[in-house]
Symmetry: C2
Subunit: 435 residues, 2 copies
Amino acid sequence: MTEQRIAGCYIPTFDLQGKCDILIEDGVITAIEPASGSAVGAIDGSGLYAVPGLTNAHTHSPLSLMRGAAEDVSVDDWFNKRVWPMEVNLTPERVRVGARLAIAEMLLGGVTGFADHYFHADQIAAAAEELGIRANIAPTFFSTDDHRGRDEAFAVTRQIAKSGSRRVTASVGPHSTYTVSEEDLSASARLADELGIRVHIHAAENMQQTHSSLDRLGVTPLEVLARTGVLGAGAHIAHGGGIVTDDRDLLRANAATTTVACCPKVYFKHDIDPITPIRLLHDVGVTVGAGTDGAAGGNTLDLWEAMRWTALAQKRQEHDPLFLATREAFDIGTRGGARAASHDRSGTIAQGMAADIVLLDLSRPHCQPIHDVFATLVYSVQPSDVVHVLVDGELVVENRTLVHADLGEIVGQARDVAPELVRIHEGEAVQHYAP
Amino acid sequence: MTEQRIAGCYIPTFDLQGKCDILIEDGVITAIEPASGSAVGAIDGSGLYAVPGLTNAHTHSPLSLMRGAAEDVSVDDWFNKRVWPMEVNLTPERVRVGARLAIAEMLLGGVTGFADHYFHADQIAAAAEELGIRANIAPTFFSTDDHRGRDEAFAVTRQIAKSGSRRVTASVGPHSTYTVSEEDLSASARLADELGIRVHIHAAENMQQTHSSLDRLGVTPLEVLARTGVLGAGAHIAHGGGIVTDDRDLLRANAATTTVACCPKVYFKHDIDPITPIRLLHDVGVTVGAGTDGAAGGNTLDLWEAMRWTALAQKRQEHDPLFLATREAFDIGTRGGARAASHDRSGTIAQGMAADIVLLDLSRPHCQPIHDVFATLVYSVQPSDVVHVLVDGELVVENRTLVHADLGEIVGQARDVAPELVRIHEGEAVQHYAP
């Protein structure tokens, strides 16, 4: 049995004042006690703040290689003239390189877990295992006549789900309600039920999609998820800006297993309004996490920014500056994200929870003075304030440095493969966006 | 004559590809040349990107001491139950301590200049001179029967304006169109004319204020500025979310000397909608800069965030993802801010301009790969990417460290004085907010 201790840190989310020690056995928090005063044999947390690791509730990690390659375009052109033509160039190797870059960025910025949704998902799983981050990965597919994409994605889903990995788990990953047939959605729900996992899917991303669904099918995207069994299997919904009040009853009935990701940066960049209706979702008991989406849209995987602008954008949307107070906003970045990623034992510093912990230096001028530590955490902290990061009690970032890989090598590989990945071959694309 | 050289850096805003040397004499850029290959006797810029220093177009620097002390409240309560009661506790010493903290944060984050608007402005001027940042400071006052606030502010305005300082200049600082009488606005305009400076003022901050002005006076806040001579003298307007199409002709007639600051973070926090109408302002030739407002509202003085969310919020407001493309957004944070702060020789790396330059390390994973360097600058860069900062060719941040002051001392003093500053004495306030 491995025993560990984080010594002498402050824990804003815990009801013990003053300096604390966090005791960890086999990756699980076993006790939180007033500091013994000694840091011998421990991770020295003196002067640092321990907070639950953040979870990125929705991303496509390999898109880090397209950071800045699809700027100042409409949503339609982003898909049809940039990202989907570029994705013709995907290879397993390029996906691995992009995932490693993304995971490096996330870990160094205090993200201990993420919900991913992408192709060549086995490569992402391997990168997550290598670098030590917690990941829930949804191998993604579009519907095609020959079911090849679906069958390949399902095979990888099974493989990850049955791997027995403590860190890397799976969700079923149909791309969306508008690119996947109801037959394939039903098959996804059955696979999720069989494996005891959930379905991570883009649905009701914006109001236009909801109206289009009503026009074409007579039902909302959420009703499509319901009638195909996806909502019943457990759904993690990306974006949900097109969720409407008519969806309330469905959501309430499935609240325990439904989660939604809010990714504010891309909504502003692409003029998506309204955005994820968090008040409605909270009212019916659905958990919301903050996400960055892929860096081809959101540019960074900075969960502090995603959490902060989730709160700010929601105050504006609700015309209520009191909505999502600092403590609630922090929960969205931590507990909410963890539930969204099916990381149910992450997101909270408490006995029995996984030791997914970030140690922050809040002494820099942008964090001082501290009148309300949750305001500091939500509105001031930057990724560079992260000093140490633990996942399952294991140090994966120590003194701002990756433990398991060389950052220079990761960045160098990304630079090498990126130019070929973003080359556009006229007329080629993995899919056409017309929701 | 002092000669300096920054050797071997990339300059995204300049039309010379590859590595460059920047030659500086007496604080002014004299030449930009292909790199000589030697860094002997120079600031080593190899591997770094040189960009114009950012300018914070509107802040109240001493409010850094209230960071996090006024969260989750309405605009009215922010003023009437938090900040204006707390400001009863202002002393010259506390203002100096807060200004030093704010300036430290700004310099370390690549902000080389700022437009400030506050009380005890001589203390802010002293802090700016000490730490080496460029500042345009507007000594602020409310109208009172005995004119004491106005007279004191005017005296400090004269003192700064006539100091002959290269770095610290003044604007006249009436608080707003709703807290200052037209008599005092006219006096402000006359003083600005006399001293050859402009007027920095809160005006038309939101649509409610514009409607209230129309109800009470029959004219918009901009028309108040016009009829009191402020617009003619040259106005720097904070916020301007309540600027309307009826103001277009006035703005166009005064475009050369009118600037506006957009501070997105506080607009979202306090549900101010619409925000600064940048498209309208650009259409009539008015320059816009990005600002943070005071940290009592915006929490940080991170100009990268202010620039980024200015662009993102404007794309949303205009329903046009193509509006404020990356290069234009970067101009708002640099050239636009510099003009807003009357720092007309800052904000651009070019011959004859002041050497206000930031050297960035863009090798961290959140900035890589670089497909579009202006996308990197606007959507990815974090304050922690700033390595060196020069103002007037003088290094004021070297290797991420303040050159002229001890950061630990600055933060320690801020911690010491903050608790007394935020103490609320029932029934006391410097002013009542009822615009």
